[in-house]
């Protein structure tokens, strides 16, 4: 059996990649993808813990399924926003969306 640490390290790496993507990327679609990475890292964590603590229980797996469902909804919404942004500004660069202020 693969030890728990391996999953956790992998999850951590994926999460960090996601954070890096969100902070460094300028393209809204890429930012969205990075967010998905972070969500997946969390899901991975849930599943790993669930299997490790009690293989018979499927609570962690169910949470992971919920996360996937929420992520799908979120992507649906976010992509709509990105399309609106592109229509208005002719770009998907998040730096251009700078009117969210005083």
């Amino acid at each position: 059996m693969v030890p728990l640490e391996n999953y956790l390290v992998l999850s951590g790496i994926i999460f960090s990649l996601g954070v890096y993507g969100v902070l460094a990327r300028r393209n809204a679609v890429l930012v969205l993808m990075s967010i998905e990475l972070m969500l997946n890292a969390v899901s991975l964590n849930f599943v790993a813990f669930a299997a490790y603590l009690d293989p018979d229980l499927i609570t962690g797996v169910i949470v992971a399924i919920f996360v996937i469902a929420v992520a799908a909804a979120e992507v649906g919404l976010a992509l709509a926003i990105v399309i609106r942004l592109f229509r208005n500004r002719s770009t998907a660069n998040v730096d251009e969306a700078a009117t969210l202020r005083w």
């Binding site: 969100v22 930012v31 998040v94 730096d95 969306a97 969210l100 202020r101 005083w102």
Partner: protein, 631 residues
């Protein structure tokens, strides 16, 4: 209705007040007849109470009737009435004078503004005073004490279009309030020490030694402060002469039956407690003596009829406190009793002069009214002689009793001083009478218009004059029995031992000598309205004369204290409020927020990556902090 329902006496005028205040202005004659009816009713009801009180007999005294008012934890507050001989004397005085004043007011206040309101307030005044004297606990007493203060405030300021009246009302209210705070503190201290407001229980507890000596003395001084404020004792006397701004019948009521005698009543009521408090009675005597002498001197220099009478009242209240200070409650109450009648008579007489001469009350403008106003002059003469202490008028007997009490209970020094005060009384009273009614008219114009007032005003004068002649005779056993003070006054009102009254002819001679000195001294100086001897005396001692004319600078001193002390402090406080509280605190914090917002708004870039970065940094920072704290 019997003595146990004596509260009805207070309830009748209280209800009348409500009726008159609500409907008075729409009633025919503005409802003055209702006021008179109510005053007449309590005058009659008093005799019902008195008869029942005497029927119940000495064994049943004091009559107590109270109900549970409220319960706070373990403490049960009972409110009710207490009727004993002291109460009966007060009720007699209040109901009689109130009735006379109500009748007189119909003539005096005719055509004056707010006629109905005047009568309504008169009822409230009487109601609160009656409640005060039947109260069986200090809390109820304090409530009515304040009600008396309130109604006097309204009545003194009745002509509120006149600035001086407003100032006088304010002065009376604030000056007595200083004393009232002392009274409230005293009541609280007594309650803390004995656990009750009930007067009889307090007396019992204190006599059993429930309160430490020093503490009791301090407490009684606080209570005496309240009495001094209400009874206008030096140095709280300043409000009373100014209270002359009110309608004259109100002055009669204030000076004779209500308000100022409340302080005397309070001390008389709590006299057993004062006795236990070592030295407290000496203070009472002292304050009374100083007041009696001080205001006697000031009365020499007053030229306004009502002001002379005002200082005379202060002086006579001093006499009462001197009497109470000897520990003989009967003597003090006796002087209160007789004084009420002749002082009410004198004030109503002054009111009659004011109406008769069409609103002139300066002695310098009057004179020679004897022929124009015979009834007023005659009754005023009787009142003056009673006040001065002519044998055998009312004032003579009570002053005699005071002299006797001081002689037997205080040293020779007090006896000498009170004798001097008695001479002064005779002096200023004679001066007042001569300058107003005798001699040549000072102002022919005013004199020619002066008329005797109608029967509605002269009848109360005659009635009170009769009382001024005979009221003093109640000291005698037979007279007292007949009128309702069994055994005569000294055996009716007493604290420990009843004392049968004996005529001491030596004292009568001495007291009459004092009367003669004062009266003839004044007559020699002012006879036929001449002023040259008085002016010569003033020129001989200009500084002293100036000092007396300025009333020993009390008003100036208080004005100075208010200007420099109170206003100075107020200036500091207002400065603190304006700059520290408002500009720095309220406006300052608002400005600070605004400025902070102005600076910090640049943090909001509107760029999504910046926010994301902030979130990330925040999460990392929080994580690190949590770890650091955990370990």
């Amino acid at each position: 209705m019997g003595a146990e329902e004596a509260w009805i006496l207070a309830a009748v005028p209280a209800i009348t007040f409500l009726v008159l205040a609500a409907t008075g202005r729409y009633l025919p004659r503005q409802g003055d007849f209702i006021g008179i009816l109510a005053a007449g009713a309590i005058f009659v009801l008093f005799f019902v109470v008195l008869a029942d009180f005497l029927d119940l007999g000495e064994a049943a005294w004091p009559i107590v009737n109270n109900i549970a008012w409220t319960e706070i934890g373990e403490f049960e507050l009972r409110m009710g009435i207490l009727v004993d001989p002291i109460t009966i004397v007060m009720l007699a005085v209040i109901t009689t004078v109130a009735f006379m004043v109500n009748v007189f007011s119909v003539g005096y206040m005719k055509g004056e503004p707010r006629y109905w309101w005047y009568f309504a307030m008169l009822q409230l005044f009487v109601a609160s005073m009656l409640l005060l004297v039947v109260a069986d606990n200090l809390l109820l007493l304090y409530i009515s004490w304040e009600l008396v203060g309130l109604s006097s405030f309204v009545l003194i300021g009745h002509y509120w279009e006149r600035r001086s009246a407003v100032e006088a009302a304010k002065k009376a209210f604030i000056t007595t309030r200083v004393g009232d705070v002392g009274l409230l503190i005293g009541i609280i201290l007594l309650w803390e020490a004995t656990g009750t407001f009930n007067i009889l229980e307090i007396i019992e507890a204190v006599e059993a030694g429930a309160v430490g000596e020093v503490r009791l003395f301090v407490t009684m001084m606080f209570i005496f402060l309240g009495a001094m404020g209400k009874s206008a004792q030096v140095p709280f006397h300043v409000w009373l002469p100014d209270a002359m701004e009110g309608p004259t019948p109100v002055s009669a009521l204030i000076h004779a039956a209500t308000m100022v005698v409340a302080g005397v009543y309070l001390v008389a009521r709590l006299l057993p407690v004062f006795e236990v408090a070592e030295g407290a009675l000496l203070v009472v005597t002292f304050v009374g003596l100083i007041t009696a002498l001080f205001s006697g001197v000031v009365a020499f220099a007053q030229t306004d009829i009502k002001k002379v009478l005002a200082y005379s009242t202060i002086s006579q209240l001093g006499f009462m406190f001197v009497a109470l200070g000897t520990g003989l409650v009967g003597v003090g109450m006796f002087h209160l009793f007789t004084h009420a009648f002749f002082k009410a008579l004198l004030f109503l007489g002054a009111g009659s002069v004011i109406i008769g001469s069409h609103h002139h009350q300066e002695m310098g403008q009057l004179g020679g009214l004897w022929r124009k106003m015979p009834i007023t002059a005659m009754t005023f003469l009787i009142g003056s002689l009673a006040l001065a202490g002519l044998f055998p008028l009312a004032g003579f007997w009570s002053k005699d009793e005071i002299l006797h009490a001081v002689d037997s209970h205080r040293g020779a020094w007090a006896y000498v001083l009170i004798s001097v005060a008695a001479i002064m009384t005779a002096f200023y009273t004679t001066r007042l009478f001569i300058r107003t009614f005798l001699g040549q008219p000072q102002d022919a114009e005013i004199h020619s218009h002066t008329r005797e007032t109608g029967p509605i005003m002269t009848l109360p004068l005659v009635f009170l004059a009769i009382l001024s002649i005979i009221a003093g005779l109640v000291v005698f056993n037979g007279v007292g029995d007949a009128i309702g003070f069994p055994g005569g006054f000294p055996e009716f009102v007493f604290l420990h031992e009843p004392e049968r009254f004996h005529v001491d002819w030596g004292l009568v001679g001495f007291s009459s000598a004092l009367f003669v000195i004062g009266t003839f001294g004044a007559a020699w100086i002012y006879w036929r309205g001449r002023l040259d001897r008085a002016t010569a005396a003033a020129r001989w001692q200009p500084q002293l004369s100036e000092m007396v004319q300025r009333k020993f600078y009390f008003d100036d001193l208080y004005q100075f204290a208010i200007d420099r002390g109170v206003l100075g402090l107020s200036y500091l406080v207002s400065w603190f409020d304006r700059f520290a509280v408002n500009d720095t605190g309220v406006d300052g914090s608002a400005n600070m927020t605004r400025y902070a917002g102005f600076v910090l708004k640049h943090v909001q870039t509107g760029r999504v990556p910046n926010y994301a970065m902030a979130i990330a940094v925040g999460v990392v920072a929080l994580t690190l902090i949590t770890l650091a704290v955990r370990n």
